[in-house]
Symmetry: C2
Subunit: 436 residues, 2 copies
Amino acid sequence: MCHTIRSILKQNTNLINQKLVVNGWVKHIRSNKLKKFVIINDGSTIRNLQIIVKNETRKLNRGTFLKVKGKIVLSKGKKQIIELLAKNIKIYGLFKEKDFQKTILQPKKHSFNKLRQQAYLRFRTNFFSSIMRVRHNVSYLIHKYFNKRGFYNIQTPIITNYDTEGYSKLFKVTTKYDFFGENAFLTVSGQLHGESAALGLGKIYTFGPTFRAENSNTPRHLAEFWMIEPEVAFFNLKHNMYLAEHFIKYIIKKIIKLSYDDLLFLDNKIFNNINLILNKEFKRITYSNAIKILSKNGYQIKWGKDLKSEHEKFLVENYFNSPIIIFDYPIDLKPFYMRINKDKKTVSAMDIIFPKIGEIIGGSQREERYKILLSQIKYFKLKKKDLEWYINTRKFGTVPHSGFGLGFDRLIQFITNMKNIREVIPFPRSPKNIYT
Amino acid sequence: MCHTIRSILKQNTNLINQKLVVNGWVKHIRSNKLKKFVIINDGSTIRNLQIIVKNETRKLNRGTFLKVKGKIVLSKGKKQIIELLAKNIKIYGLFKEKDFQKTILQPKKHSFNKLRQQAYLRFRTNFFSSIMRVRHNVSYLIHKYFNKRGFYNIQTPIITNYDTEGYSKLFKVTTKYDFFGENAFLTVSGQLHGESAALGLGKIYTFGPTFRAENSNTPRHLAEFWMIEPEVAFFNLKHNMYLAEHFIKYIIKKIIKLSYDDLLFLDNKIFNNINLILNKEFKRITYSNAIKILSKNGYQIKWGKDLKSEHEKFLVENYFNSPIIIFDYPIDLKPFYMRINKDKKTVSAMDIIFPKIGEIIGGSQREERYKILLSQIKYFKLKKKDLEWYINTRKFGTVPHSGFGLGFDRLIQFITNMKNIREVIPFPRSPKNIYT
């Protein structure tokens, strides 16, 4: 196989005088009377390779894919240390300059919106290929983290017959004939199924797509997004908070090193954001205390009401100046499956709130007590029949367990400091938007 | 955090006299006048830990979850080297013996069908927890393989507006109001989107759920299954075959070591199956030659017809006695996007056929030539408008590229030697089956 530009630039001067083959497409060309200076990229890295071409009479339009045989030499230019002296070039299908002008590949400032309209070409822009490489590295780090710690990755079902969150609007799944024999929906969370897996395998995590048919055309919402949901048997809320903080700090710490070039290219302010997370111990605070602090500081909010983003912002950015974990929320603010506390007013829920982006993780200890779970299902007026299998996981041997959910795309959005979440997923799905 | 049984048994006698805490549920109990011998498991391994409990008057029903504090000692029994001498036991929610009898946890031979009816409890059976651990390890190996080789993992969309395969029956996605403003379906493959990503990032792979609404109630079909689809720019069919063979051999070679205990427990014949794959170089043969061989050996099959499983079986198990890669199939047998060969009758397609299970991988070099792709779309009577973005990836700079698809669940089915694919996925989806 051929060398990638990433591996060539990594080996750097060790490759001097080495003959090799490299593939890529033309990003930029300039020429003088004697030779052409062709800048190529192959997607393996944000950095480019300069090719020196003598006696080339064929057209080498921008955007064209090339295979180049040649020799690595020291560059006389100031912008690079090594370059490739081409001996032989194969040109793949010509890209007409006239067509090039029509695309987002033309090197000028395009709006993010314009870039999204040619989503299938975005992968060849510096900006989006950087984000995709960061996204891959984060994904891999997530698998690595859990694998090393004995968590098993479980593929929970995408098509389900029940709506976990209760409040969510669902996508319905149909066929011409009655395929499933009952209503079928796209999952909003793998949690309930993940719980049953954790009760057998101990520690599990899901990493898959979830769906919300909410008509939210905001920079933070997608109709289709990927979630990571770990679930651990024998864990209480404290363990859960520890895991969540440790996990997210691990990812953020490692990604700085692994994707340094790409993050630097995207926005050097990224490192400031990231350091805000790494250098602080996440402050733990009960919902009730959060309400007290807010009231003392002039906010009109009563116990039992949902915190708004202005409240979270005040707590994180002004009061604590640190990421915070708010826990023990009022029963009515959270789903039926969360464990009721001794006060009988709150549940063992936790939300991690980050500066700028707000909630990044939501989790809880689960209600493992059979009778209390039953009464919660009644209280929330849910259909017991649809949840029977879930209730049975408490009837047939039960144990405290906990878990949380992290929106993968929101995490990438935070790391890359993108304003709109649609900039961090290959083909965003949102109201009236399903093109490509 | 606590020790897992896996880590305890791995450290073995190194832990003698060590005090520790372990969690698990009761698999088996026997007792004499002085003490109870309690076998517990925690899902981390197929192997169990024996707990010795003195002076325990409380009921310790099977299936009950426990937290045990104690000391590791040498076992006097013959079945284990070390055991845990319990000092203190915490019993979580009692599991009534009467209820236990109703579940698949009762240690007797249950039909696979019965096990599936309590899918939410299957994770606690030896058989299914073994499969889930193998599944996790294979999944992790897949990510590891591609990551190491510079492939980027891409999340292609689940909800799409187009049907790749043409022939497939689709699940339709709807909401009460018109969310997307056009028809929306569940994806049958991430390939077309993956191709556009490979043209920017060089080497990519997808690993996500795909869907078929075919009314196939067979041991090899699922309505919802996970696919791995690598795609590589600059790769021709030969490179593609090499990658596919190397990849699948890597996974199989590594999983033997990584999941040895679980595979041994499941079926010791597994290792024979697996060695059949590892010890042979996959035989490459054109479709046309396959037809010739079949005709000479008494099969009535004409050039242009699809190979049936009996044909594949003969070639793999009788004629070649090796996995085979059949390539260069007639145009009409394959989808529109495959590259037309010089003979203008065949396309650069490849199928890898394994003993017993038949096709495990299907792939091709893609048609990268703009005009030929257009004529193929016309020939197959596809809607050009829906494919415009895909066609544009050939208009705006084009290059040869190739890729393949591997059904993740089929791979697990092959490795674990399960007759029915529903035994290898947590919550199988098939006609009339969406429970839990």
